[in-house]
């Protein structure tokens, strides 16, 4: 169903395709918000200002979801190239570990040290992303396998960097304000999230990059024949995902004031993939929806709060996520839609979408 090539949907088709894709996620998000408002009142959605910083339940959800948003945005680009990046959780831990460890070794309150630490962490994250991309593009390793290596080894590397400790940065260090501070009352993580989102949207929708990504994911061979340097595009997508994961790790570490190599960003890759899929980008590659991913992230963040608000124990979180994954997977499956709608379609010639679909070959 993602098979509409960019060419076919250019022009008028594009807007309605977007609407169709975003309709379900928006309905789910609205439903979750309504449940929360019904339970906790209008304060849930209305931002309030205290201590010179925007607060309120929903703003806090957005602030806490910033790392997941960054990773999910990077993941969207990778999935658009028909890939997947399992290593982002480990890169999150590595980014956090490098930044915290470097700051601890220097002068904690010096701005210069913090800037160097962040730059260093992002550079290493970019390097790891490029490595993943090179494994996929130049060595022809399946994305799931290529990134599995760092998913397994990455947390070991992060522990190596921190020496098995959990380095904590002092509360007066400028580093901490990346996670807890606010500029013009807006929390810094939200600003970073919005900035990265805007940058990626501009990068992919005002330049040819977005279309190149979609064409590489839609049909690598055809793109190569069309003269697209598919390998470079692929490496770029993984590189951006790596930087996003490193930045997410920095925000997470700054928010906590420490870097936990074992548990920091644990399972965030699964949440990110879930957010991307909820947002309407299928794992088969091709069309991607950065706006949809953002809504997906908001849904996951709101879901976690909703479970607490409606009085269920926090253990329900996993079960609720499982239900969401299941529903989304079913809604996106053409076979399931055909099967569930069959009783209503008797008499008409049954449409069997994707039955002879070349893309149907199981993608992993």
């Amino acid at each position: 169903m993602n098979l509409a090539s960019p060419v076919q949907t250019a022009g008028g088709g594009r807007a309605s395709a977007y609407f169709k894709r975003l309709m379900w996620p928006l309905i789910v998000l609205a439903a979750l918000l309504i449940v929360n408002i019904a339970v906790t009142g209008f304060d849930f959605i209305v931002p309030s200002v205290h201590d010179g910083r925007l607060g309120g339940a929903f703003v806090n959800i957005l602030r806490r979801s910033a790392p997941l948003l960054l990773i999910a945005l990077g993941m969207t680009l990778v999935i658009a190239t028909k890939g997947i990046d399992l290593s982002v959780g480990a890169v999150y831990a590595i980014g956090a570990a490098i930044a915290c460890q470097y700051i601890l070794n220097g002068d904690q309150s010096a701005l210069g040290v913090v800037v160097t630490a962040v730059t260093l962490a992002l550079a290493i994250a970019a390097l790891i992303g490029a490595w993943n991309g090179a494994m996929v593009a130049y060595f022809g390793v399946q994305p799931i396998v290529a990134t599995l290596i760092l998913m397994i080894a990455g947390r070991g590397i992060a522990q190596l960097i921190t020496g098995g400790q959990i380095p904590s940065v002092a509360d007066d260090s400028p580093f901490v304000s990346i996670g807890r501070g606010a500029i013009a009352t807006v929390p810094v993580p939200i600003i970073i999230g919005v900035a990265v989102f805007a940058a990626l949207v501009l990068l992919t929708r005002t330049t040819a990059l977005g279309m190149l990504l979609e064409s590489v994911g839609g049909n690598p061979e055809a793109s190569r024949l069309a003269g697209i340097r598919a390998k470079g595009i692929t490496v770029l997508a993984y590189l951006i995902a790596g930087i996003c994961a490193g930045l997410a790790g920095i925000i997470g570490a700054a928010n906590l004031g420490s870097a936990d190599a074992n548990n920091g960003g644990l399972w965030i890759e699964l949440d990110a993939i879930l957010a991307v899929v909820i947002g309407g980008t299928t794992l088969l590659g091709g069309r991607f929806f950065l706006v949809g991913t953002t809504i997906g992230v908001a849904i996951i963040g709101t879901l976690e709060v909703t479970i607490i608000n409606v009085g269920l124990s926090s253990q329900w979180q996993f079960t609720a996520k499982a239900i969401v994954v299941f529903i989304v997977a079913m809604l996106q499956s053409p076979e399931f839609r055909a099967w569930i709608l069959r009783p209503f379609r008797t008499g008409r010639p049954g449409r069997t979408p994707a039955a002879h679909d070349p893309e149907k070959a199981p993608a992993k």
Binding site: I84, E221, L270, F318
Partner: protein, 341 residues
């Protein structure tokens, strides 16, 4: 011949022909031998005859789960839910015997049947609704972890159920003082699973279908092979193995931890890949998986013997091993293409 682009599968027919398909498993066995000999050379007591049986005992759960994972990966799929299913099975054993007071002889078969059914359900969703294995089993990962936590969010002891003491009774082979060793009953479950899996994969119609579907689902369908039955079957097997792994863990630890087996699916996948099975499906051996599990067990043993190495080195080394084996597979695949092309 199409040039190998990006994420495309490598050309199937050229992979691992003739003798070269034994190279990865040979490399794994050689690595295992080298690790063992290196261990004997460097550490006193490493040649204790109990060391190798202990590898089997300590990794019995992982071994069983990895065997199930081998079926799924050979068929071209992946199963992320095994760690959660395993934890859920252990917890279900604990809850049903301790809290609900059911006899263990009913509980254990019930848990195993549950494993088969849940796996078959996942497989049916993957096949009939064309949901990607990654996503469908991701739902299982979340679901069973959530259910496990809902049964109990703390350790539950099953110490006072006699049934579970049975598993750790040992059979002695020779005198421990002169080269003998002992094995508990549960390790024979693991051996049984491996032997059964070997026979099913190599000597039954179902086994051949697994390889065929993993090689190319389209071709398997055109050849008239029962693709649906095969795909549902491999996930049912994986579900059964995960549930059995959970039961074995219940025997082994006599307690259920709601966070047991987090990340176990990664260890299982790593063991399968190190054992020489292609993650794209269609090529590999279940005995390679046994060697892969042994390599990972040997690694932790060596790190324990060394004493001053931290545990995270195990993860890094497993990552490096994965890298080495994946690159080896790629080199073999490429040289195969060149020979043919």
């Amino acid at each position: 011949m199409s040039s190998p682009t990006l994420t495309e599968r490598p050309t199937r027919s050229t992979l691992f022909d003739g003798l070269s398909r034994y190279i990865p498993i040979g490399a794994t066995v050689a690595l295992l031998a080298a690790m063992y000999l290196g261990g004997i050379a460097n550490y006193p007591n490493f040649d204790n005859p109990q060391l190798i049986p202990d590898l089997f005992i300590g990794n019995a759960g992982l071994l069983i789960v990895a065997v199930g994972m081998t079926f799924v990966i050979l068929s071209g799929g992946i199963d992320l839910s095994v760690g959660s299913v395993m934890a859920f099975s252990t917890m279900a054993c604990a809850w049903l015997t301790v809290e609900a007071g059911l006899p263990a002889s009913i509980v254990v078969p019930a848990v195993l049947v549950f494993g088969v059914l849940s796996g078959a359900f996942t497989g049916a969703i993957i096949h009939y609704f064309n949901v990607q294995p990654f996503i469908a089993t991701l739902a299982g990962l979340f679901l069973y972890r959530g259910l496990t936590l809902q049964i109990s969010d703390h350790d539950m002891s099953i110490r006072d159920i006699d049934f579970f003491s049975w598993g750790m009774q040992r059979i002695e082979f020779g005198d421990p003082r002169d080269g003998g060793f002992s094995l508990p009953y549960i390790s024979f479950i693991a051996f049984g699973v491996v032997i059964l899996a070997f026979i099913v994969l190599h000597y039954t119609r179902f086994g051949r279908s697994v390889y065929a579907v993993g090689g190319s689902e389209q071709s398997a369908l055109l050849m008239g092979l029962p693709v649906a039955r095969t795909k549902v079957g491999v996930y049912a097997i994986s579900g059964f193995c995960a549930a059995l792994g959970g039961v074995v863990a219940a025997f082994y630890t006599k307690s259920a931890n709601p966070l047991a087996g987090v990340g176990l699916e990664l260890d299982a996948i790593a063991a399968v890949v190190v054992g020489g099975t292609l993650l794209t499906g269609g090529a590999g051996f279940v005995l390679g998986t046994v060697a892969g599990v042994m390599v990972m067990g040997m690694l932790t043993t060596i790190i324990a013997f060394q004493g001053n190495l931290s545990s995270w080195w195990a993860r890094i080394v497993v990552g490096v091993l994965l890298l080495a084996f994946i690159l080896l597979q790629r080199v073999l695949a490429r040289s195969g293409e060149k020979r043919k092309g």
